[in-house]
Symmetry: C2
Subunit: 213 residues, 2 copies
Amino acid sequence: MFNFASHMGINEKQLKILQVTERLFSEHGFDGTSVRTIAKQAQVNIAMISYYFGSKEKLLESLLYYRSQGFKAQLKEVLAKDISYLQKIDEMVAVMIERVHKNRRIYKILHFESTTNTRRSIINDHLIRKKETYKIIESFINDGQKVGVFSKDVNIKLISSTILGTYFNFYYNHNYFKIIHGWDPDTSIDHFVKNELTQHIQITIKALLTYEN
Amino acid sequence: MFNFASHMGINEKQLKILQVTERLFSEHGFDGTSVRTIAKQAQVNIAMISYYFGSKEKLLESLLYYRSQGFKAQLKEVLAKDISYLQKIDEMVAVMIERVHKNRRIYKILHFESTTNTRRSIINDHLIRKKETYKIIESFINDGQKVGVFSKDVNIKLISSTILGTYFNFYYNHNYFKIIHGWDPDTSIDHFVKNELTQHIQITIKALLTYEN
DNA sequence: TTGTTTAAATTAAACGTTTGTTTAATTTGT
DNA sequence: ACAAATTAAACAAACGTTTAATTTAAACAA
């Protein structure tokens, strides 16, 4: 059996399996996706999945590992720039939304699995990365409060919930957005996220951090 | 077979099945829950589920119907009160959060199913109710803008995404909140939602709606 | 209060599929 | 020639649903 975590060299077939798995897991969930479907769509034999990844659970594990690199560094870079605090908010939000939008399918799997007791062991790595990210944002906002740019009655713990939550509530309801707001079929979701949605969140966070009761 | 939608009188056994189903579907998903598990936990024979509800899919349908009453009226009532616009925001947010927190398990099922193409027909009713709710909030904010209390560069479409999204991002990560922020095991989630979380969202929305660029 | 009738409720067992995984044989590339 | 890659076939287990038989409960007549 191939140990995905130790090696990082993956061949075309493994990559194809991971890509198909990501799409199917996010569309139909872990239990709603059969290894036969994965194998068929990735155009490999069923046994190749056990052969390469060991089991269906370890396939999910490999997928999460495969999709988890470099966000921390990107965030630090933005916050170290020589720009104003409010401009940093804009850039931080933009980076975060770009990130989750790109990996939205993975996050959907994580959201689903994290409130589930059946496969909790798989997502422990994600918890560590999440905590690191939080600490960076927390100390940035603390700085802004000391300088007097940011308001002090703000629940820092919940800021990233507002940023990411707004995005995911849009994502989980984007089919409704299409109908309710009468989007024409050509309106690109990517375009809406990059412009309208990101801007809305940027304004929201800036408003929140400068709001005095 | 019993037609749940037409009759609304449900006996103890049907109620028990629905309650168990809600918990299991939200914890393990539709595909991750077997009718055998439902039957066992509800302490009824497997065949009773087909007998009362027809099928597993129709059981979900009945569950959604069972949990969908009265939100629209509650919202209208709050917005008709003789209080300031900002106070209405506070009350509206409180009502919305109380509502989704109470029905969080149902919403999790909806979030999961709405980005899935396999059972889309089931959630059409929910779309209609969602649109009605949006229209009420939209006209309330339009009023506030005309009076000059609310800022005009606000993306109204996305306001409920921020309100509900913040809540759900908390809910989907509450196990992480426990560990990351070192909650003691006795800290009640209900208490945190009713106080800290609701207050955070109230401040956020008031800040957003009174923010001038 | 009785016994009888009738439909609803309940049950165990069986149905045919589909599930994830393994086996053992074969092909491929070096 | 030899190890890695690939395959078809088989495995037991679990799935949702149906069947056919039995029990329960209520209605009714005597």
